[in-house]
Structure formats: structure tokens, C-alpha cells
């Protein structure tokens, strides 16, 4: 059965709200298309989503086994480490389905030669890279993150509102950091043709964010705060929520913004380097 879509006329398009609204509208279309195409193999889709969720819950396995064997991370209770990992997975659970797909999208399109099709669209290349990359099965990551976060939160006594406020602020910064990572990887994907292992580099570096910052030595603590702000992905937001004393958080936030700006510059610089023989 054929389906038709009523597209708004150019006048209607102009009369609508600002560019953000337009952006959001197109993004929803991208989501719908991604869902529809993934539903062609719906059995595999649901299994993949379930697996994504389970895989995320395997992340804290090391923590659980360490505490199960009577060992611990100095200064951290089991539920506190799980909360940290819950925050980390929550951040990843939002990033991966909603914008991190642009990395895979970019690498794949550059390799196939279909990146040109995005470049000729009347939208910014970054916007098109995100819109056409919604990864529906990665919603399993988000569910996994939420489940772990709620599970860990159950063992924590009620928290003051100020802790929640600082947590939310730092959580936004964790998403900014994730987005900056996405920009760097997508940029790399343009020049490092067909190398999907860029993800591996990212995932391995991100592993530093899955554990309390205090377990690393001073040098690495400085690197994951001031150079690549990985501490913002889990350690800082979780510490803020738990009311633990944290140092260097302001520096990490500034570093995160700088990381984003450099990421944007890097991505667009790499796009300028893109060459092809037409679509």
C-alpha cells in the first residue's frame, strides 16, 4: 500500500517557527525513517535492542565481581560506583541513539561515496549527518543506563535538591563532551576512509570514565580533567549527586566547552578536505 506525505508549501515552511523548530522537525522525520527501515527486520531489531540493554549492564560487571570478592575501590561504596556507572551509561544511552550515529554514518557514506548526497542538501552538513543517523536499536543502551541508574539510586539515601541541580548541570556537560567526541570521530572518519575502528579508540578512552577518578594517578587525573574531560562523563556528575567533594570541576567544564569548539572546527576542517568523484 502506497503512503503519501503532505509536504508543507514553501510559504508554510517560512511561516513556521525558527530554525530550531525546523531542525527538530527534520530530526523527527529522520527518526521515523530510521525506525521504518529498521523494522524490515524487526525480529533482529528487538533482539539487538535487548542485547544493547544487556550489554550495557555488563559494564558494571567488573565492579560487581570486585565487591562480590570482598575487595573495593578505596573511598567508594559498591552502590556509589554503580551510580557513577549508571550516570556514565545514561549519558552514553542518550548520546548513541540520538547523535553518535553520525560517526558510523559519516564513515559509511564516505566509504561508499554517498556523503556527497548530504553535502548537496540545503542544510548544514553536520545537521544532515546527525539527522540521517538516528540509531534506533541503541535505545537499548538508554534503557540499560536508566535501569542501572535507578537500581543504584535505590541504595542511596534521599538527596538534597542542590545535589540534583549540580548533577543536572554536569550531566549536560557530559553530553556536550560526548558530542565533541562524536565530532572528532566523524571528522576522522572523513579522512581515515572506512576505518570503523575509530569507535574502538573512543570506547577504550571512554573506559577511564567508567570508574572513580580517584583510582587513577595524578597524571591521568589531570589528563581526564583538563585535556580530555572524561571525568565529566561519570565521575563528576555522580560525585555531585552523592555530595562528594570534587576538585577541578570548573576547569573540566571549561575544557568541555573548549573541546566542543575544537571539535566543531575539526569536523568542518575535515569536511573541507573531503574529496570525491560525484554522487
Amino acid at each position: 500500500m502506497a503512503r503519501t506525505v503532505d509536504l508543507p508549501s514553501p510559504d508554510e515552511q517560512k511561516s513556521n517557527a525558527g530554525p530550531l523548530f525546523q531542525w527538530f522537525k527534520i530530526y523527527i522525520h529522520g527518526m521515523k525513517t530510521a525506525f521504518a527501515s529498521r523494522m524490515a527486520y524487526r525480529g533482529d531489531f528487538f533482539m539487538s535492542m535487548f542485547i544493547m540493554m544487556v550489554v550495557e549492564l555488563f559494564g558494571p560487571l567488573v565492579t560487581l565481581l570486585i565487591y562480590h570478592n570482598g575487595a573495593s575501590f578505596p573511598g567508594w561504596e559498591r552502590h556509589e560506583v554503580l551510580l557513577l556507572q549508571g550516570v556514565f551509561l545514561l549519558s552514553r544511552g542518550i548520546a548513541f541513539p540520538f547523535f553518535m550515529g553520525m560517526v558510523w554514518n559519516t564513515i559509511s557514506r564516505v566509504q561508499e561515496g554517498t556523503y556527497d548526497l548530504l553535502l548537496i542538501k540545503p542544510r548544514s552538513i553536520l545537521q544532515m549527518s546527525i539527522i540521517t543517523a538516528f540509531d534506533s536499536e541503541d535505545l537499548g543502551k538508554l534503557i540499560g543506563g536508566i535501569l542501572l541508574f535507578i537500581y543504584a539510586l535505590k541504595s542511596v539515601p534521599s538527596l538534597p535538591l542542590v545535589n540534583w541541580a549540580s548533577f543536572l548541570l554536569l550531566f549536560i556537560f557530559s553530553l556536550i563532551t560526548m558530542f565533541a567526541f562524536g565530532l572528532f570521530m566523524s571528522g576522522l572518519g572523513i579522512v581515515w576512509i572506512g576505518n570503523y575502528r575509530i569507535y574502538d579508540i573512543f570506547m577504550s578512552v571512554m573506559d577511564f570514565g567508567l570508574y572513580p577518578r580517584s583510582i587513577f594517578n595524578k597524571l591521568f587525573q589531570t589528563i581526564i580533567t583538563w585535556v580530555i574531560p572524561i571525568s565529566l562523563l561519570g565521575s563528576f556528575p555522580a560525585s555531585a549527586l552523592l555530595g562528594k567533594q570534587i576538585t577541578g570541576v570548573l576547569g573540566a567544564m571549561l575544557c568541555s566547552i573548549f573541546f566542543l569548539l575544537v571539535g566543531l572546527w575539526f569536523f568542518h576542517r575535515m569536511v573541507r578536505n573531503y574529496t570525491s568523484a560525484g554522487g
Binding site: S48, P74, R197, Y211
Partner: protein
């Protein structure tokens, strides 16, 4: 013609497989920078684990019988085994079935099982010097020398784990004859295999009930058993075995997995249909 193609003599011609090894090696050599990404990734993973265990062993001398040094040794050996055993036999077979390209293998005078296995051999030969040798060098910086206490048994065990890892992946790939697209299933099995084979952690750290289950699964023979053979002692779920005994059991598991693979293949191949070549 068909009889000629099906004849075992044709299908097991060694020069053919030598050619497969050679072609796979050369093909992947062109993309060696992709493989070399491991030289960034593995040291980072190792550093994370190094700090984790250093923090844990600050307050405990041993965890489940492991000291800091033996834990790092185990992690180093199991990561090297991971590099040696890696293959994408499941993904490759699934893509061949999904796209219909598998039909070309039905016309070639070669068993796809052996073809895929020797592809793995070629690929891992390249990995040996691109990934494994430099990473051994990195471990040496931390004074971790991945030298087995019983070298002969370790070589046999590593060879068996190489075959077993392939057979498990290939059997998972065979499921594509039923499901066509098996990304989800493959991802699930990859995680289950990695966790249950002790890639991330020694299996003795798991609760005793889970250890008992893990003892009867084939996965421990892919990574945990060869790593323990390197260490010179084997123990799981309270069961202690000598090195020759556990390697013998590993060989038996390879034979069982091979038979299981042939059984699944026998039923799966009947479901395959393709048009054109």
C-alpha cells in the same frame, strides 16, 4: 561436474588453502592501519585495568587467589589470546547468506568451512606482527613477560583455542540460514562468549554457582583455559585439574563443537536459496 566439485579430494586440496591464506594476508595488508588501531586501543584498556587492580590491591593482598602481578599477567595473556583468536567468521557467513553471495561457494570446489578457517589463519598471521608483537613489547614495559610455564602444552592449548574460537563463531554464523540477518544474535553471542570465556576477568571471580555452569560451557576453553595453561595451574568451580587433563578436555570440546557445527550446517544449508552467481 557436480561430483567433481563434491569430491573430498578437490575440497581438501592444500594448495588451495595456502592460496586462501596468502590472498587474505595480502588483502588485509592493504588495510593494516585498521588493524594497527589496536596499538592505541589495547594499551589504553590495559592502563584502565592496571589502575583498577592497583586500587583494589591497595587494600587487599589477594582477590580470589590472584595477586596484583598474577592478575595483570592473566589480563595480558588473555588479551593476547583475544588478538590471536579474533575472527569475523560469523559476520562474513551471515553477510554472504543475506546478500545471496553464498551461492558462489556452492559452485566452487571448496568447503566454505575450511575456506573461512584458512581466511582466519591468513588474517591472524598478519595480526601476529601488526598487533601481537608490538603489544607484547608494551607489556614488557610493565615487566609482564607472557612466557608460559609449560611451553609445549601452552602451544597445544592456544592452537585448540584458535580452532574452537573459529568453530563457535562459524556455528553462530550458520544461524543466518534461518534468520537471514543476525546482527543482534551475533552481538549477544559475542558478549556472552567474551564474558563466559574470561576475556575480561578470571572466571574464578564469579560466584560459585555461575562457575559451575561455566565449567560445562565451551567458552572457557577459548580464553580462560589457555591463560591458565600459561600460568601452569587450572582451577574452576572448585575443580582442580592437571594441565594435560584440561588440555585433553579442551581437545574433546573442539571435537564436540565441530560435530555440533556440522549438524547445524546439515540442517541450515537445506534452507538456503539463491538465484544467479
Amino acid at each position: 561436474m557436480q561430483a567433481l566439485i563434491e569430491s573430498p579430494l578437490m575440497k581438501k586440496a592444500p594448495p588451495l588453502y595456502r592460496a586462501v591464506i596468502h590472498a587474505t594476508y595480502k588483502e588485509n595488508f592493504a588495510f593494516r592501519s585498521t588493524m594497527a588501531v589496536s596499538l592505541i586501543v589495547q594499551p589504553v584498556y590495559f592502563l584502565v585495568h592496571y589502575f583498577i587492580w592497583q586500587a583494589v590491591f591497595q587494600v587487599h593482598d589477594t582477590v580470589s587467589g590472584f595477586t596484583l602481578n598474577t592478575m595483570l599477567y592473566y589480563f595480558a595473556v588473555s588479551s593476547l589470546l583475544g588478538f590471536l583468536n579474533w575472527d569475523d567468521a560469523d559476520g562474513t557467513l551471515q553477510r554472504l547468506v543475506q546478500t545471496g553471495k553464498f551461492i558462489t561457494f556452492q559452485l566452487r570446489p571448496v568447503y566454505h568451512l575450511y575456506y573461512a578457517f584458512f581466511e582466519k589463519v591468513g588474517h591472524r598471521l598478519l595480526a601476529f606482527w601488526v598487533e601481537i608483537i608490538p603489544i607484547i613489547g608494551f607489556y614488557l614495559l610493565f615487566k609482564i613477560k607472557p612466557i608460559p610455564t609449560m611451553p609445549v602444552w601452552a602451544i597445544i592449548s592456544v592452537a585448540l583455542s584458535f580452532i574452537l574460537g573459529f568453530l563457535i563463531n562459524y556455528t553462530i554464523g550458520t544461524i543466518a540460514f534461518w534468520l537471514v540477518k543476525t546482527d543482534g544474535l551475533r552481538r549477544a553471542m559475542l558478549v556472552i562468549k567474551d564474558v563466559c570465556s574470561g576475556v575480561f576477568l578470571p572466571l574464578t571471580l564469579f560466584p560459585s554457582v555461575i562457575q559451575k555452569v561455566l565449567f560445562f560451557l565451551p567458552f572457557q576453553f577459548v580464553s580462560y583455559v589457555p591463560a591458565r595453561v600459561f600460568m601452569g595451574s587450572y582451577e574452576l568451580a572448585g575443580i582442580t585439574m592437571s594441565i594435560p587433563q584440561i588440555v585433553g578436555l579442551q581437545a574433546a570440546m573442539v571435537a564436540v563443537t565441530y560435530l555440533l557445527n556440522r549438524l547445524v550446517w546439515h540442517f541450515g544449508i537445506k534452507r538456503f536459496t539463491g538465484v544467479g552467481a
